[in-house]
Amino acid sequence: MADAAVVAEGLGKRFGPVAALDGVDLELPASGVLGVLGPNGAGKTTMVRILATLLRPDRGRAWVAGFDVAKNPAAVRRLIGLSGQYAAVDPFLTGRENLVMIGRLYGLTRRQARSRAGELIGRLELDSAAGRLVRTYSGGMRRRLDVAASLLAAPVVLFLDEPTTGLDPRGRLALWQVLNDLTAQGTSLLLTTQYIEEAERVAGTVVIIDHGKVIASGTPDQLKTRAGGDRLDLQASPGQDLHKLAAVLAPLAAADPAVDETAGRVTLPVADGAQILPEVATRLAAAGLHVAALALRRPTLEEAFLSYTGQPAAGPPAEPVQLEHAARRTR
């Protein structure tokens, strides 16, 4: 435990009748990156707030850099950086003034705070806006400024609660680069995210939480493996009946095939892909079906998430369209 940046044991927190956290265990090794993945309302923010000493847990214990968060919050605060779910920056100060203020409150001297603020403004690509009131910033710029504020005192353990929500792809890439540099230098990072891609991109270890409980944890690779076998993607030739294709191959699948009408694709979860490939070809030929392409691959973390939680994680759009269909059907 001495080497762990964060340890949580059986953390529980209720808000009235709702169990926001229901016995969460997790560990972030020193200099490691832990991604906490979960849908909205899973308890991610509550967990970050407890670890950052903002909330006291009802039960369980947690240590940050060896200090008990409930018993020694002052020691924990000297070692952490936090960027919460909202961009917590003062709209009536300039970007630079915000950073210098936070630097002073971390105990940096005036000179240190200024030079550190300048450095972070450069790294998060805020140079042209640093002298403007934050009121005039876009959401993405505020977000980056907020992350910069959490980095001012070169924290030993950094907590980021959905840091790239609201960032455009370029801002997201820039932030990931900054985070990779930081962790390469030894900062331990715990970040929550709704984005599979982010967890996979940044985190060495991922825990999936839902309804206040850890439902799976491991490296992205392990999670995918445990989600069960391989996936066989079949790209149908134009004009082919996807449902017929799915029906013909269903006996070979380890679970129900997924039919994606828009992409013209059928995906089969299979236990041992390599061995069934000949059988797939035989059955397709017997049914007189043609496929344009066929690919065997590992499940994506998205599919793993789905198999653990029973609901998709937030991802790049396409959902609204499906919702519309669903709404029309129910009318």
Binding site: R49, L55, M101, R104, L105
Partner: protein, 269 residues
């Protein structure tokens, strides 16, 4: 591999000294004062309007026994009104900081729980010093004079500022409890308005109906205004000042610990 902290010299010793954290938060709030239009109006236009409106709208009709110029009677009470209105913005600001997550950030920093609140109160006190000076200037231009000497005049200013301190703490508590900025503003203004019109600020208590007199005499605004008047106009000061001090200390004893306790558990959402 060297650790990342060596080059940047983060403060790892202990909690950041209160002098630094309070000064930093005070500076933040003073900057906002000049940049947020509402705050600037509450600190400049409104106090001047209060002095002019009440003097000219009521001054002609009201004759207070023993007072030649109504402005001499009125101005000490208007100090309290302007400071009270300004203090309602303190509740708004802390509720905003709560809902926007600023308080989450401050609470994750190695500073004491009182620094954020004390920095706010200190900035308010500096603003109030300006507001009182402005009202004295405008009042003097239309006939107001101190009649009890410079020491008493300074004591009057000090008492007005002390009243502001209490109202700032009260509004911090309201903002932290109410949490919604707009409601916090109303919660701060409502008691001031009620207490103002049922006090001796505009008219002597003796002119009120009997049932209201008892309330008006016990009203803290009457007590504080009475002490301010004694210091501005002359006459016995010991007893009114002690009564006012008792009110202020009593309110501080309740609001300061309650506000700090609320702050310690405050988080957004």
């Amino acid at each position: 591999m060297t650790t990342v902290t060596t080059g940047t010299a983060a403060y790892r010793g202990s909690t950041v000294p209160a002098s630094v954290s309070i000064a930093t938060i005070t500076a933040r709030n003073l900057r906002r004062l000049f940049r947020v239009p509402t705050l600037l109006v509450f600190a400049t236009v409104q106090p001047v309007l209060f002095v002019l409106l009440f003097t000219y709208a009521f001054g002609g009709a009201i004759h207070v026994p023993g007072v030649t110029h109504y402005i001499d009677y009125l101005l000490p009470g208007i100090f309290v009104l302007a400071i009270g209105f300004g203090a309602s913005q303190t509740g708004v600001a802390i509720a905003e900081d709560l809902t926007t997550g600023m308080i989450d950030r401050f609470r994750s920093l190695p500073i004491s729980a009182t620094a954020v609140l004390a920095g706010r109160v200190a900035a308010d006190a500096l603003r109030n010093l300006f507001v009182v000076a402005l009202m004295i200037g405008v009042g003097a231009a239309i006939g107001f004079r101190f009649h009890a000497g410079p020491a008493a005049a300074l004591a009057a200013v000090a008492l007005a500022i002390a009243t502001g301190l209490v109202l700032s703490w009260l509004n911090l508590l309201l903002g932290l409890v109410v949490r919604d900025p707009e409601s916090a503003g109303l919660a701060g203004l409502f008691p001031i308005i009620i207490l103002f019109f049922t006090s001796s600020t505009l008219v002597p208590v003796a002119t009120m109906p009997g049932w209201l007199q008892a309330f008006a005499k016990a009203n803290p605004i009457t007590v504080i205004t009475g002490a301010l008047r004694a210091l501005c106009l002359g006459g016995p000061t010991t007893r009114p000042v002690l009564e006012a001090a008792a009110w202020l200390l009593g309110l501080l004893a309740v609001t300061v610990p309650a506000a700090i306790a609320s702050y310690r558990h405050a988080t957004s959402a």
